[in-house]
């Protein structure tokens, strides 16, 4: 997997940290039963020191365990209490649901709720249903409580909560037989993408302008803040991974790096217009990975494909009559971008889940006893802050890793094997 990788300078600590963190996140997610991600390059990632990880694992496992226990354990009593108090609002606090609702995309941008008054920014809904374009504001849904033009936001968790579905006319029930409309709505994540896009354009047009204005002189201001990162991408990611042809990949790698880095950072900012879970959304990472995949596939030279379909230096019986190795190599072509997609998505999502988990602890304990809630809150806040700081690091590391691996794949695809037998594997 890492055959083309030529490591340069002291980036080992980043790598080590990344391994540790990735490990922890994988296990955490496995434990949480939210998703289990098995990436192909796990073996290469898992051989590192796991000692420091154990404590982290125990803590998260404990927290998650307690979270679920409390969430289920308090439900009946809570339910009773809630109905008693509000009369109508009967849903108990469920940390898992709350976290998922915060992470996934939504059709309006929720800012705050005071009792039953939700302060949200309604976002446009764009549907293509049976060839017709239908647009309206998501405020017509009244936060999922009303249907509009025959559509509603699905509230049933089992049927894909949050998706726009057709209703049986005159009711609020989902029409199970109707075709699902194509949903091209400007959702919260789309706004998040646009925010990142605008921030990137503003920042980098300014930087480019100061490069023109300041030609030949030392960098100033914003330019000097971002120049080390640009140089980092060029000198530590592109050049050592790709080699002498690195220049033509620089625009993509720089855009990729800064898009991921900036959206990670903006995603950590908790208020509008930040806080949208952009890179923690699998569609976003899918698109990024597809870009890398398409580029890798199109630039792949003869020896790259030769190495896949006829790997040199391996016994013939691995290739004929059963093309075992070519099949594995071909699978690798698709697994590589898949792993890219999952890694970024899982890391960022995990960060958000952990922070939200700590915040949820306050409400879980408060449901048991208000005093307990107050007592737990400083600890929760402290841990949230700690994880948020960790996420700052992860924001950079994930941008680095994604760009690094993309560059590595480009490097593999453009590598010229003059002595093919040396690269036997």
């Amino acid at each position: 997997m890492f055959r083309g990788y030529r490591r340069k300078r002291g980036l080992a600590p980043f790598f080590r940290f990344f391994h540790i963190f990735k490990d922890g996140v994988d296990k955490w997610l496995n434990f949480a039963n939210i998703a289990s991600f098995n990436s192909i390059d796990k073996q290469s990632l898992q051989h590192r020191n796991q000692n420091g990880m154990r404590t982290f694992l125990i803590i998260t496992a404990f927290l998650l365990g307690s979270l679920r226990v409390f969430a289920t354990g308090t439900e009946p009593a809570d339910h009773h209490q809630a109905t008693h108090e509000t009369g109508s609002h009967s849903e108990a606090f469920n940390a898992g649901h709350m976290i998922i609702d915060h992470i996934v995309d939504s059709h309006d941008w929720h800012i705050a709720s005071f009792g039953h008054t939700h302060v949200t920014i309604p976002l446009p809904v764009i549907l293509i249903d049976e060839g017709k374009l239908i647009t309206f504001s998501s405020s017509h849904f009244h936060h999922g409580e009303a249907a509009y033009k025959g559509y509603k936001i699905e509230t049933d968790r089992k049927a894909g909560k949050g998706k726009i579905v057709k209703v049986i006319p005159g009711t609020m029930d989902t029409d199970p037989h109707a075709a699902k409309p194509i949903d091209l709505s400007i959702t919260k994540t789309v706004i998040g993408i646009f925010v990142t896009l605008i921030v990137l354009l503003i920042v980098f047009f300014q930087v480019a302008a100061s490069y023109k204005r300041n030609a030949g002189h030392a960098p100033k201001g914003l330019q000097s803040l971002l120049e080390p990162l640009i140089l980092f991408v060029r000198d530590d990611i592109a050049e050592p991974s790709i080699g002498k042809h690195y220049k033509k990949f620089m625009p993509f790698l720089l855009t990729l790096f800064f898009f991921i880095f900036f959206s990670n950072l903006i995603g950590l900012f908790p208020f509008f217009p930040g806080g949208a879970n952009v890179t923690g959304n699998i569609a976003v990472t899918l698109v990024l990975a597809v870009f890398t995949f398409v580029i890798t596939t199109f630039i792949g030279n003869r020896s790259y494909w030769l190495h896949i379909f006829n790997p040199p230096g391996v016994p013939w019986w691995l290739k004929f009559p059963l093309p075992l190795l070519p099949l594995i190599e071909l699978a690798g072509v698709f697994i590589k971008p898949f792993v890219l997609m999952v890694r970024l998505f899982a890391n960022i999502t995990a960060g958000h889940i952990i922070v939200l988990g700590f915040v949820s602890l306050i409400f879980i304990f408060a449901n048991m006893n208000p005093a307990l809630g107050y007592g737990v809150s400083p600890v929760s806040i402290l841990f949230s802050v700690f994880i948020s700081l960790l996420e700052l690091l992860v924001a950079f590391i994930q941008a680095y890793v994604f760009t690094m691996l993309s560059a590595l794949y480009f490097g593999m695809a453009t590598e010229e094997h003059e002595h093919a037998h040396e690269h036997a594997h």
């Binding site: 896009l197 023109k212 030949g216 002189h217 625009p251 855009t255 699998i282 569609a283 870009f291 998505f345």
Partner: protein, 164 residues
């Protein structure tokens, strides 16, 4: 599962947004930045190279300066040596000349003294002869019969007296 199922709308918008971003940044932002960085690096490289060259030149210059200085010093030393030689020669020749002159003067003085002495001696001898004759005349009270002969005798006897 909502979390891991990518939505078509988001894929569409993301592709669009990232494509636009890639196009705009790739066309208007990254090329000038990369070029500026490259140019600046080249400039720095060049400047360093130039500085290195200048330092080498300086060293060479310093070396040649030293050489020049050394040569100049040698020349000066040579000149000094020559001058000293010339001076010594002059002094020597002057001394020889002076010696010669002095010798000459002494010689001529000696000669003159000798001559004067001789003259004085002759004068004295004559005087003595005359005085002797006079004395003898007075003593004898008579004129000698043959003054000429006497005079010769006296003269002879005076000549025999060695005067220092």
């Amino acid at each position: 599962m909502e979390l891991v199922s990518p939505g078509i709308g988001l894929i569409f918008w993301m592709t669009l947004a990232f494509g636009i971003l890639l196009f705009i940044l790739g066309k208007f932002v990254w090329p000038p930045i990369m070029r500026a960085l490259h140019d600046r690096e080249q400039a720095i490289e060049l400047a360093l190279h130039e500085a290195d060259k200048a330092r080498k030149e300086m060293e060479e210059l310093k070396f040649s300066n030293e050489q020049l200085l050394r040569e100049a010093k040698e020349e000066r030393d040579g000149m000094l040596r020559d001058a000293r030689k010339v001076r010594e020669n002059i002094i020597e020749s002057a001394r020889i000349k002076a010696n010669e002159e002095a010798n000459r003067i002494i010689e001529s003085a000696t000669e003159r003294i000798h001559f004067e002495k001789m003259a004085a001696m002759t004068e004295l001898k004559n005087q003595i002869a005359n005085l002797s004759i006079e004395i003898a005349e007075k003593v004898l009270g008579q004129e000698l019969s043959n003054p000429e002969k006497d005079k010769a005798i006296v003269q002879k006897s005076i000549g025999d007296i060695t005067l220092n």
